[in-house]
């Protein structure tokens, strides 16, 4: 599954988890940017950075199999684009270096997202004076993501239990109806949330 919805490791207890969210975000960004800017000759630097990140991963107490699986699931796109790098002089070396850099980036972000609850990252954004409307949107999006994905699952299941022909064209129509229903319900829910916000004094 491309996205892990269970979010079961972001609230564990480990030195990495306990580190302040702002620090983790800045460090992650710094690591990624540094590696991205590395020319292909600096393989040693990349290796060193990777060791640091792997050490952090070990400290975080998140099961290795989970981390590896998360990274592997996102690799296909990386490989698909990296293959295009082969079509130029020095392609093989570039290809390998690209894959290494990308995988490093994936590992850093997977580690960040699984040791830091998103609500903490939101608070960092709020503290950094990100625009209020953007923070509210991200906040509500995070809150209702799971609700909507659930709703979509339930609607899909309900449709599937009344579908007896495997025709693909019908499947598209069905899925489109599910998506449209999802929007209609979301917009109605947005109205109710507005009412709930007003009920507690929002202006």
């Amino acid at each position: 599954m491309r996205h892990d919805f269970l979010d079961r490791y972001s609230r564990l207890d480990s030195p990495v988890h306990r580190a302040p969210a702002a620090v983790k975000l800045v460090v992650a960004l710094a690591l990624v940017v540094t590696v991205v800017l590395l020319p292909s000759s600096r393989a040693v630097a990349l290796a060193a950075a990777t060791i640091v990140v792997l050490a952090a991963a070990a400290l975080s107490r998140i099961p290795w199999r989970f981390l590896v699986r998360r990274v592997v699931v996102l690799e296909p796109f990386v490989l698909g684009v990296a293959i295009l790098a082969l079509f130029q002089p020095g392609g093989w070396r570039l290809f390998l270096f690209l894959v290494a850099k990308c995988t490093f980036g994936l590992l850093v972000m997977v580690l960040l997202s699984n040791t830091t609850p998103f609500s903490d990252l939101l608070r960092v954004l709020k503290g950094a004076h990100a625009p209020a409307l953007l923070v509210t949107t991200l906040s509500l999006m995070y809150r209702y993501l799971f609700v909507l994905v659930d709703e979509a699952q339930r609607m899909k299941r309900a449709r599937a239990s009344r579908t007896f022909t495997p025709r693909r064209t019908w499947a598209w129509q069905t899925m489109a109806t599910v998506v449209s229903q999802l929007f209609v319900r979301s917009s109605e829910r947005a109205e109710r949330i507005y009412a709930a916000m007003c009920a507690r004094g929002w202006r």
């Binding site: 979010d7 809150r143 009412a195 916000m197 007003c198 202006r203």
Partner: protein, 249 residues
Amino acid sequence: MSAAIEVRNLHFRYGEGTHALHGVSFSIAEGESVGLIGPNGAGKSTLLLHLNGLLPEVWTGEPSVLVGGNPVTPGTALEVRRKVGLLFQDANDQLFCPTVFEDVAFGPQQLGLSEAEIRERVTRALAHAGIPGFEARAPHHLSVGEKRRVCLAGVLACEPSILALDEPTSSLDPKGRRELKELLRGITLTKLIATHDLELVVELCSRVILLDGGAVAAQGPTLALLSDEELMLRHNLERPHILRHLHPH
């Protein structure tokens, strides 16, 4: 002493023309616990939304709702929302912040309280709602019952004098229902509880208002009204089992 809530001849029509409330009138004294019952579509939720000024969206004519003696108007709506705490039917709609703490703190924040006061109110409200220590939890990890308690805490944190609840026990398992019932029993604020759960009404409410088709069909003491089998059936309800062995007064 003015009534906690007074509703006088309240009419309401939805934009498209559906006449939802017809001349509803009743009053609730301070400290009373009143049940609002009726079949689906009777207008219970619509009525509750009038108590804190969320409806009507367009104001015309005389105000029909008075809270603590003061009329509810666009000008007084914000003040009224502090006094009347409304618990919505769907906990998911009311619990809209990324963590429990932030959600319960929402009301106090809107009131402009200091950080320390907010923190104190949140701790107290969570304790009152029976879920102390839930501050850091994420809403999508909570059960229906827990979500409902968080919503209750969020309302209590605003320190209202009146509590209006819309189907508080719906979707709860028997244990959750029992716990919520005890919780509500322990809250001494004026309460108006809209519900299908007639046993809850018998246990918590001294008086009952029966709404059907947007109008008050009957109101009176709980036991008398709910034991009237014929009245109950006429309005798509029924006499609760708990009263089967009691004689009507």
